[in-house]
């Protein structure tokens, strides 16, 4: 499962879970993603025990919903992020999060390999782009995703005026967009 550049092909592992209920593939996914999900949830304000519990939940959801994973649409990291985010909303807020309609044409039976490759590379390219952002902008983006903080709550905590935060986040996203194109 190792690609030439040393990166694991996570999407292939998810497909093995989907098609063969492959526990070894799942274990590899678990070892990589579970500690990240746990850290993500702890940064969102969950204590270690709740984060452990929810991270297991998120990984169990990955197994259960592996048939919904569309490798042409999102990388595994992005997909795991959306599961973890929804779990966080359930756990910390106890509120519903309405989801948009699925696209009417639905997933194609055999996704185009080029598209799959492209979507799976996105996370790595975005990660590289993120790491090149100035520290301040990068910190704000991470806060917005991790912190479960609204922009105005970030303002209270960092002491930055709201306008500055919004423009920094916008600037940071703009830079990301340039690096991606």
């Amino acid at each position: 499962m190792q690609a030439d550049n040393g990166n694991t092909d996570w999407a292939a592992l998810v497909l093995r879970v989907r098609d063969h209920q492959d526990k070894a593939a799942f274990a590899a996914l678990f070892r990589h993603f579970a500690p990240r999900v746990k850290a993500f949830l702890m940064k969102s304000g969950a204590d270690a025990a709740l984060a452990e519990e929810c991270a297991q939940d998120v990984m169990a959801t990955l197994w259960q919903k592996s048939h919904l994973f569309d490798p042409a649409r999102a990388s595994v990291a992005t997909w795991v992020f959306t599961i973890a985010r929804n779990r966080r909303i359930d756990a910390l807020r106890k509120s519903r999060r309405p989801e948009p309609e699925d696209l009417p044409w639905g997933p194609e039976p055999e996704p185009d390999q080029a598209e799959v490759f492209e979507a799976q590379q996105d996370t790595d390219r975005l990660g590289a782009a993120l790491s090149q952002l100035p520290a301040k902008q990068r910190a704000l983006i991470e806060r917005a995703y991790y912190g479960d903080l609204s922009h105005s709550e970030i303002a209270t905590e960092t002491g930055l005026p709201l306008g500055t935060i919004k423009s920094r986040i916008r600037l940071a996203l703009e830079k990301l967009r340039q690096q991606m194109s």
Binding site: R36, P100, Y145
Partner: protein, 202 residues
């Protein structure tokens, strides 16, 4: 982006999910924001899992019911699926309450920190002149309305904050139906609506 990060109150999430159902450009942007979330997650520090974690997760999986293919949400009339799911149907299923002058509204059950409601404005009718104390998102589902500066048709979303004072007017044609979310009460400029405000919950 706040929707992607999961930071919005439920009422705003409903408006965003409904809008994204109607707008491919925003769907693409949402996908991009989710991807940034994926990258942030990938770069995350690691919090070591408990020793028996994988084993108990596999146990948990064995206990799970067989994956049920969730019934895809259904659109109902001019209501995209996420909204139809809240209402339990299309515009005909809404329990409207009259506000006077043919204007009707229905409050939706969402979290406490913001309020979502449907508005029904007959063609040509105006919603009383008002400003805003917080943020108001208004998504047009049917018909169209205009205010001093712009026109909003189906799928369009108006974002109003403290700086905006306006009198939206429904265009001629079919009645205008909107989904609106606010995180603070509206501020009406005339005395009568202001007196009625606590009773009407708008």
């Amino acid at each position: 982006m706040a929707y992607s990060a999961g930071d919005l109150p439920e009422a705003f999430n409903l408006v965003v999910a409904t809008h994204v159902s109607l707008c491919d450009e925003c769907r693409a942007r949402l996908g991009a924001f989710d991807a940034v979330g994926g990258a942030v997650l990938s770069d995350a520090d690691l919090a070591p899992m408990a020793d028996d974690s994988l084993a108990s997760c596999l146990d948990r999986i064995d206990m799970l019911p067989q994956a049920t293919t969730r019934q895809p949400l259904q659109r109902a009339g001019c209501f995209p699926a996420p909204l139809a799911d809240y209402i339990g149907g299309g515009p005909e299923a809404v329990k409207w309450r009259p506000l006077g002058m043919g204007v009707k509204q229905a409050m939706l059950r969402t979290g406490r920190d913001a309020v979502a409601r449907l508005l029904y404005i007959p063609a040509g009718q105006a919603v009383p002149d008002h400003g805003h104390r917080g943020l108001e998102l208004t998504l047009v589902l049917q018909g169209a309305f205009r205010d001093d500066s712009d026109r909003f048709g189906p799928g369009d979303i108006e974002i109003a904050d403290e700086a905006v004072e306006h009198t939206p007017v429904a265009e001629t044609g079919p009645a205008c139906i909107c989904l609106a979310a606010t995180d603070a009460p509206l501020r009406f400029n005339a005395l009568i609506p202001r007196l009625a405000q606590p009773f009407l919950r708008i």
